[in-house]
Symmetry: C2
Amino acid sequence: MPGATVTPGRPTTIALDCMGGDHGPVEAVEAAAQLSLSRPDFHLILVGDVNELGPLLDEREYEPGRISFRHTPDWITMEDSPRTAMDDKPEASVLVACHLVADGRADAVVTAGNTGAAILAAARKMGRIPGVRRAALAAVTPTEQTHGPNEDPFALLLDVGATLTASARDLVTFAIMGSAYAEAISNNPRPSVALLSNGTEAHKGPPEVVGAHEMLAELSEVNFAGNVEGLDIPRGSVDVVVTSGFLGNVVLKMLEGIGEVISELAKDAYARRFLWRFGLTMLSSGLRQIQQALDWEQYGGAPILGFSQPIIKAHGRSKARAIGNACKVAVKAARSDMGRVIERAVAKVPSVEEEGTQA
Amino acid sequence: MPGATVTPGRPTTIALDCMGGDHGPVEAVEAAAQLSLSRPDFHLILVGDVNELGPLLDEREYEPGRISFRHTPDWITMEDSPRTAMDDKPEASVLVACHLVADGRADAVVTAGNTGAAILAAARKMGRIPGVRRAALAAVTPTEQTHGPNEDPFALLLDVGATLTASARDLVTFAIMGSAYAEAISNNPRPSVALLSNGTEAHKGPPEVVGAHEMLAELSEVNFAGNVEGLDIPRGSVDVVVTSGFLGNVVLKMLEGIGEVISELAKDAYARRFLWRFGLTMLSSGLRQIQQALDWEQYGGAPILGFSQPIIKAHGRSKARAIGNACKVAVKAARSDMGRVIERAVAKVPSVEEEGTQA
């Protein structure tokens, strides 16, 4: 469980896969160097080709006591088929990073590499939380309303693509995991959780959503707010939105596309300064809000939930700041008791036979 | 078939359900009065309580030869359960309007009432196009790219909620119907059609999407562009996007929610005029584009596809202009041969047994 295996005295340790991101190892090494100077409370193991990582680190200021290496020359590219790569590259950096956690030498994994490979590597090396049948990839989405005591303008959406379909029991498990993660990361003691459907009424939606609604209504461990509709995703009516991976993936990519279309507007810094100077603060602050929302990918990465230790997937195009944020989030998750919270709540879900609802 | 039953000499006739919209009959009557003055090429039958409709029409200028009435005191409200209302209110205006078409006294139906009731009324009275197993509700969505010779900044999305799940064969039928409708309405001789999925590769998506992809790749009647992702919905990479009703409903409502959030920005007409005067045309035209896109609901209503004659569902909050546009679209559809085009293409789809993919 996260938090359970942290040896007293040993600082929380992150296995940082340095190899798979779009920018190569330089951004991961830069993030590690900065964190080593500012965060005495945790240790980083840089996983990758030491012939590349060593010189990159040497060019930077860093605190040597807080960084170590685990050398491996192999890594999985964005173009590799995740499933094939698992067998063809057993020493790939993401597999080695997950192995370090399985061995108890690290407490969490951070990677900016191939998402499918990260999910499969976690499944192969780390094992699932007892009772969890399917892992879920979660993502933050920009919202109009703010969430939790930190007033984050983001909500958590899961699953966004770890698997395509989900049974009623899977959706309930996703609700439990999303709730535990939001609680651990956002200091939100009782995040509100909803199912995405085509209407707010309990009977609305395909059978797996109706079934999950029934089970969640009985489960005191989750602050269940019922169903939400597509409208509520940009509004942000709840803290955690639960859906199947197929629908979650479409929703997430749609938000990305809308962000791209709108960014044409928000890009023009001169125009914004101009507006502000002439007192059109409403228009100017609106554009600023949109631009901040477009930056949501930078907020710490997407957790892959359901495994016995935290694994955070930073976006492929992450720069040092985003990878650093992902490491901070991973440390927070590793120190929480979310694994135990999830295990305890999942144990209360009735294990009905309902494989028929799976495609 | 649309176009097939139009008697030579008789003008194309629309059965206009005047009763179900949010604004009551006044907007429908206003639309009819305006159309009677400007469009000598078609006739309107106003369906509803003649005690209300008569006085409303008398208050207006109109061309008496182009409007007639079919009295019925009953109608289905937005709050009624569509299924129950079918039996409880056999003389409801939407059922009467569909019956007029079934009887050959009208060529198309327009209604701003309860969507579920419109779909059920069409199914009960008009009958499906041979080979079509499930009807689909289509909607236009605002896009960055334009479509067809008219350069419409909209694409067609279907199904958006006539039913929840769809088999591979249903998705292929939706593709055929969406293509035929886009061709008839947008003068687009060969609209591009894509399946919504979680990746562009043919093997991506749940089994029904993969199966539909295989069938569409073989079907020369549809200009099949493969799979598109969530990103492509706001971009508008294709003219017609095909998905199941559950996913389509979430996507459509999400766009509505995003529109609401953004409209805070676009609302300020003074600011826009101001920008324009100071030469900030890029910013100003961006806001204008967003505002136009927000107005997409006004563009003619949502066709319910799959029935032997056209039925157009205008938004519940439609004013006279929107209802008038829906009538014009209905006339265009009634005069096209889309029913025959759909029947011929559907006949070529292999009727595999694949009910197992249905939830």
